[in-house]
């Protein structure tokens, strides 16, 4: 079973992503800011991170940067899911090492497609 960490400060957003992923057979854990996310990343083996940008304590970009600097977990794929839709934001996301970028609110099918793609789950 593939494990996903959903990182977003809004409870409803986390619940929505959780529902989509669990229905497709993923195991889901949550974090509401970049510090909590990093702690959970160190303690667990995740196959994918879903990361929001605007969060208290540690924002999404900073979290992904830390991830990419940490040997044991740097290879895990990251999808940034956020409200910001400008090109400069997307560029920044790829620059710091995100694998993909989706604009909120996500549609279940599209979201699932990329999650499966990045975790090597065959897409039906």
């Amino acid at each position: 079973m593939k494990r996903v960490l959903v990182v977003d400060d809004a409870a409803t957003v986390r619940a929505y992503h959780r529902k989509i992923l669990e229905n497709a057979g993923f195991e889901v854990e949550e974090a509401l800011n970049g510090v909590e996310a990093f702690e959970k990343a160190l303690l667990n083996d995740f196959d994918l991170y879903i990361v929001d940008i605007n969060m208290p304590k540690l924002d999404g970009y900073s979290f992904v940067r830390k991830l990419r600097e940490t040997e044991e977990i740097r290879q895990v794929p990251v999808i940034m899911v956020t409200t910001e839709a400008e090109e400069k934001d997307m560029d920044k996301a790829f620059e710091i090492g995100a694998n993909f970028y989706l604009v909120k609110p996500v549609k279940p099918d599209e979201f699932l497609k990329y999650c499966k793609l990045l975790t090597g789950v065959s897409y039906e």
Binding site: L32, V35, L42, L43, K57, S62
Partner: protein, 292 residues
């Protein structure tokens, strides 16, 4: 109406619905980092109902609005108290002491010159169990204790607790986690169920009174290599937590470590510390100085 219900015995007319539970759970998780599993439902409901009644409310709804919009933060503190165990005893959360001797201290001494002292801070020290536990652990389990001088400071805002700490008299309950040989070596049985820690240890800890949120008071605390700040910050409001963390940061040497309580996390406090994962525990570290 509430008084009547008590008189009727165990009949509980306040119910917590599934949606109430979700709402409460999310709020509590956001504030403390503690997430209640569905399996804890009964435990949570009971404690909640207790608080609802204790504050004179007759429904979850009105109680939640009260907590949510309470500017003093007092009821949230009561809630956190109700859901956490805040008992102090010797060798509480021992895995952190193990981490101290196995991992933290070796790293710290690798950066020290011979003759430099190591400073450890226990804040809050309460009635002394924690700083004395640190002292005993170092003497018993740190192989390099004879090579380095260690200064242990225990601080608390409560002067009564500090007086008790200096006296060093403890109940059976407080010492029950200690291996027998340690109890015999460092304590004297006083005969009435109480144990007193030996004079040498009582004289080796510096006990001070401090308000950790006040930078004027914390200014004179500097150069700490390890800080134990367990089960304190979780009871503070958001701003006080941040201020306390900043004051502690300033009191630490670069590369110094800080340990929080096992259900606490810096994720609800600040991002200025680095997160270090050791086999025994997650601890936090003040970054080493970069060359400017």
């Amino acid at each position: 109406m509430i008084k009547q219900n008590y008189a009727l015995g165990n009949k509980c007319d306040i119910t917590i619905t599934d949606d109430d539970f979700e709402k409460f759970r999310e709020f509590f998780y956001r504030k403390t980092g503690i997430m209640f599993d569905q399996s804890k439902r009964y435990f949570v409901d009971r404690r909640l109902v207790e608080r609802i009644k204790a504050t004179g409310h007759d429904s979850f709804k009105s109680y939640f609005i009260f907590v949510r919009f309470d500017t003093s933060g007092k009821e949230l503190q009561n809630l956190i108290n109700a859901f956490t165990v805040n008992e102090t005893y010797f060798f509480r959360e021992e895995y952190q002491f193990r981490c101290m001797v196995n991992k933290m201290l070796p790293e710290i001494v690798s950066r020290k010159k011979p003759g430099e002292i190591i400073k450890i801070w226990s804040i809050p020290c309460s009635t002394g169990e924690e700083p004395y536990s640190i002292a005993i652990y170092l003497l018993e389990y740190w192989k390099d204790i004879d090579k380095w001088d260690v200064e242990i400071v225990g601080s608390d805002i409560d002067t009564n607790a500090l007086e008790k700490a200096k006296r060093g008299i403890y109940s059976e309950r407080s010492v029950q986690n200690l291996p027998k040989h340690i109890l015999q070596k460092y304590f004297t049985y006083l005969g009435n169920g109480d144990y007193q820690i030996c004079e040498d240890l009582r004289n080796s800890i510096e006990f001070t009174r401090i308000n950790i949120v006040d930078p004027k008071e914390t200014k004179r605390y500097r150069g700490f290599d390890i800080v134990f700040c367990r089960n304190l910050l979780i009871y503070f409001d958001d701003l006080s937590r941040k201020l306390a963390a900043e004051n502690i940061y300033d009191a630490m040497n670069p590369g110094g470590f800080i340990c929080l309580g096992h259900s606490e996390s810096m994720s609800r406090i600040t991002s200025i510390f680095q997160i270090r994962k050791f086999p025994e525990a997650i601890v936090y570290q003040k970054p080493l100085e970069k060359n400017e």
